[in-house]
Symmetry: C2
Subunit: 138 residues, 2 copies
C-alpha cells in the first residue's frame, strides 16, 4: 500500500478512534489543553492555540471553561499586560492523571486483545502522530 493510501487511512481511523473514545469515555477538548500545559508548563492563550492547532478564540473559550472547572488558573502576564499566563492547577493535574488512567486502561485493554500488537507498535503509532503534528504547517 502506498504512503498516500496509508496516510489517508490513518486520518479516517484516527477520526473513528476519537469519536469512539469520546462516546463511552468522554474526551472533552480540555483534556488536550491540560495535557499541553503538563508537557510545556504555563503558556499564553495564543501559544496554546498554536500548539493545539486550533484558532485563538476557540482556545479562549476552552480555557475559560477550564478556569471554571478549576483545572487551570489564568493570571495577567507581568511582562506584557496584553497577555495571559495559563497555569495547570493541582486539581487539574489530578484530573489529567484520572483521564490518562481511564483512557490508558481502556485502550491498553483493547491493544492487549490483539496479540500481534506490541508495546513497541503502540509507541510507533504515537511517534507517528506526534511527528505529523510537529510544526506541520508546511
Amino acid at each position: 500500500m502506498s504512503d498516500t493510501e496509508l496516510a489517508s487511512d490513518l486520518v479516517v481511523h484516527a477520526a473513528r478512534l476519537v469519536r469512539a473514545v469520546r462516546r463511552d469515555l468522554e474526551l472533552p477538548a480540555g483534556t488536550r489543553i491540560i495535557s499541553l500545559l503538563d508537557e510545556h508548563g504555563p503558556l499564553g492563550i495564543t501559544q496554546l492555540a498554536e500548539l493545539d492547532r486550533c484558532s485563538q478564540p476557540t482556545m479562549s473559550a476552552a480555557v475559560a471553561q477550564l478556569v471554571e472547572s478549576g483545572w487551570v488558573t489564568k493570571k495577567p502576564n507581568p511582562d506584557d499586560a496584553r497577555g495571559t499566563v495559563v497555569t495547570l492547577s493541582d486539581t487539574g493535574r489530578d484530573e489529567l492523571r484520572r483521564v490518562r488512567r481511564r483512557h490508558g486502561e481502556r485502550v491498553a485493554a483493547l491493544v492487549a486483545q490483539h496479540p500481534d500488537l506490541t508495546t513497541e507498535d503502540l509507541a510507533t503509532a504515537v511517534a507517528v502522530l506526534r511527528g505529523i503534528l510537529q510544526e506541520g504547517t508546511s
Copy 2:
C-alpha cells in the same frame, strides 16, 4: 513509558490530528461512511452505525446528507421492508478517491518531513488504530 501512558497519548494525539486535518482540508463525517461502504459493500443504516461506532440517528442523518450529495443511494431492503440498503454510487467512489488523494498527499508530505518515520511506521500506526477499533466493544 507504560502501555497505559502510550495509549492515553495515542488518543490525545489522534484527536489533535483529526482537528488539524479537519481544519485545513475538511474531513466531513461522510468520508468515514463512504470509506466503510467502499470496504464492506452495501450496508444498512444500523450496520453502518455499528461499524462507525456512532449512534443510529447520527448515521441516519449522515446518510441523508450523502444521498443529497449523490454519493450514495438508499433503497428499501427487498428482504425486509423495515430496512434500507445504502450503496456507494460512482460519484461517491470518485469523491472517495479525491479525498484520499488530498489527505494522503498532505499527511504523507508531513511524514516525509521526518526522515525517521518510515512507511513501515505509518503502516504500523494504521494497524494499531484499526486493531483498536476492531470489535472493540470489550
